[in-house]
């Protein structure tokens, strides 16, 4: 069965094919297949129904590039920060490492407090 549907002034050619175990729907040549109910065949083409991993890409994070002791924090939650602004001091091996902002943003959460031991890769703050 061939159909033509129009969405927002664009026309799409749809072809529906019913086979023994599945129904195939071709949209502009791109094929999607759905198993016929009650059939136990593989549902490998059920992409439209898949749950995608939940990640909010609007949230940005600043991670520790090294391990150390968080010896000072210069910002607080809710602060608007600018790229290059001093955020923390991480001390390690008697070296002081000034961590500066990689990007502009507003601090949503600071996940550690002064005195905490930080591991490389830990998320230090989230920005919105």
């Amino acid at each position: 069965m061939n159909l033509k549907i129009k969405i927002k002034n664009k026309e799409y050619n749809i072809e529906i094919l019913e086979e023994e175990s599945e129904v195939k729907i071709k949209v502009e040549g791109k094929e999607f297949a759905f198993p016929i109910e009650g059939n136990n065949s593989t549902d490998k083409f059920l992409a439209p129904q898949m749950n995608l991993p939940k990640k909010d890409f609007s949230i940005k994070e600043i991670k520790a590039v090294m391990a150390g002791n968080l010896s000072d924090i210069f910002v607080k939650e809710g602060d608007t920060i600018k790229e290059g602004q001093k955020l923390f001091i991480l001390s390690a091996m008697k070296m002081e490492n000034e961590i500066i902002a990689e990007m502009d943003g507003k601090i949503k959460k600071i996940l550690f407090k002064v005195g905490d031991q930080i591991r490389e890769g830990d998320i230090l703050i989230t920005l919105v």
């Binding site: 590039v65 290059g84 001390s91 091996m93 070296m95 002081e96 490492n97 500066i100 990689e102």
Partner: protein, 166 residues
């Protein structure tokens, strides 16, 4: 080597962080906000040798090593020039007669990767007395002789550059 002298500075490390050119050296006659790790203050009256060097960008592991090497260089020069017996409290302090004579602080600015690094050295050379309670000494107290700060600065810088193969 670009050496900048200041009669007085807040902290030579703070000033050095403003410079990007490796091997820029900031020397101060005294510091009003000289500091060690975790905000501890470094007593910096006139007479001492206080300087910071902008280091070439390096990885963090090598910078840890350069802090320790700094302590070894200072110890070697104290021994060689003044015949004192220094010992190193790893990684960054030098003692003579169980009293602190030198402190070293390496500071890095990190924005994903290292943007800049400075090593600051505070060496008690011509200091006659210390504020009450400080377990510190100076080369002058130990040897009863005036120290040529510029000569010692040059010796330390030469050794430091040698470590970088320059």
């Amino acid at each position: 080597m670009n050496i900048k002298f200041f009669e007085n500075a807040t902290s030579t490390n703070e000033l050095a962080k403003e410079f990007n050119e490796p091997w820029t050296v900031i020397v101060a006659g005294g510091q009003t906000k000289g500091h060690g790790t975790k905000g501890t203050s470094w007593f910096s009256p006139k007479g001492g040798l206080y300087f910071s060097v902008v280091l070439p960008r390096d990885n963090l592991k090598d910078l840890e090593t350069i802090t320790i090497l700094g302590a070894f260089i200072v110890s070697k020069i104290i021994k060689q020039e003044f015949n004192l017996e220094p010992f190193i409290k790893l990684p960054n302090d030098v003692y003579v007669n169980n009293k602190k004579i030198c402190g070293i602080l390496t500071e890095n600015i990190i924005q994903k990767t290292i943007k800049s690094s400075v090593i600051g050295i505070g060496l008690n050379t011509n200091i006659d007395e210390f504020e009450g309670g400080l377990n510190a000494t100076s080369i002058k107290i130990e040897t009863k002789k005036e120290v040529d700060n510029i000569k010692i600065l040059k010796l330390i810088l030469t050794e430091l550059k040698k470590q970088y193969g320059v």
